[in-house]
Symmetry: C2
């Protein structure tokens, strides 16, 4: 059986070395807090204004300000800065926290489309950092797709078992 | 509704500041790789030899060498060292990766019992680092209990829905 990491690499086309090249440099020290706040603000402005209703609706129950803060605090923490996210919300637990959302391949691609646009429009981020971040985001997006499929598998097994109970009794 | 972090704090008795005091010092630089390997080896020797069969059986389908490597690579990465875990296995995704296991409060306490013993028997770790690590472990263990309960809630809702389908058709 393929691991989450293997699925993420195959589906994203990004191997783990490229995905985690964000760890070769301390991007937080290089870019600074405000750059991360700006990037997440830019990204979520695009998401909440998306002309694709199916994608926009995934975020309908979350406040934009909260989505921005959750995202930049995670990025800061993961890319060499202080553990802002964990101090406030605990472990990232990325797959579990995405459980309420339908993280399909199509949704991953749409997320990446907006992030690529947000990165391209950012003048504070050098091109080497942009490449590293985009590889990390692409690999992570498909890691979450792999996590989402795992969830569906497990649930259907649990439900089959539940459904067969009356017959077995 | 209480967040995962709030539940982890309440149930463990460890507040987030104490839990993430591991980030105040770079424990990897202070302690070194071999100390983490020794700690995880010591810990899993105790777990795989546990006289409590119900706890030992949780690990029955995992090879001890793999359990040791997964654990020390995660600790190294989370406590200031190179991202060994993510390079090999991707994001920690702690809750999702614990889904196959029954992470009850009783299991959390038993895990912590063995970890406390392993820490106490370690002569390579100073007492300040031991306190920081134990607070982090205790908070994290109950964070996973909170994640486990989330899983059960979601599954029972999904199964109820599945069970009611035939009647609705």
């Amino acid at each position: 059986m393929q691991s989450l990491q293997e699925k993420a690499s195959e589906w994203s086309g990004v191997n783990p070395n490229d995905a985690f090249a964000i760890d070769e440099t301390n991007l937080y020290q290089k870019l600074g807090l405000q750059t991360f706040i700006n990037l997440s603000t830019n990204f979520y402005n695009r998401v909440y204004d998306d002309e694709e209703e199916w994608f926009r609706s995934i975020f309908a129950n979350s406040k934009k300000e909260d989505a921005i803060q959750n995202q930049y605090e995670f990025f800061v923490q993961r890319m060499g800065g202080p553990p802002l996210y964990s101090q406030r919300r605990g472990h990232p637990a990325l797959i579990a926290r995405h459980r309420p959302f339908p993280v399909t391949r199509q949704a991953a691609e749409r997320w990446l489309h907006h992030m690529q646009q947000a990165l391209e429009s950012s003048t504070d981020i050098d091109s080497d950092s942009k490449i590293k971040m985009l590889n990390f985001f692409r690999h992570t997006a498909f890691f979450l797709v792999a996590g989402d499929e795992l969830k569906n598998q497990k649930q259907s097994i649990a439900c089959k078992h539940a459904a067969s109970k009356p017959a077995a009794v």
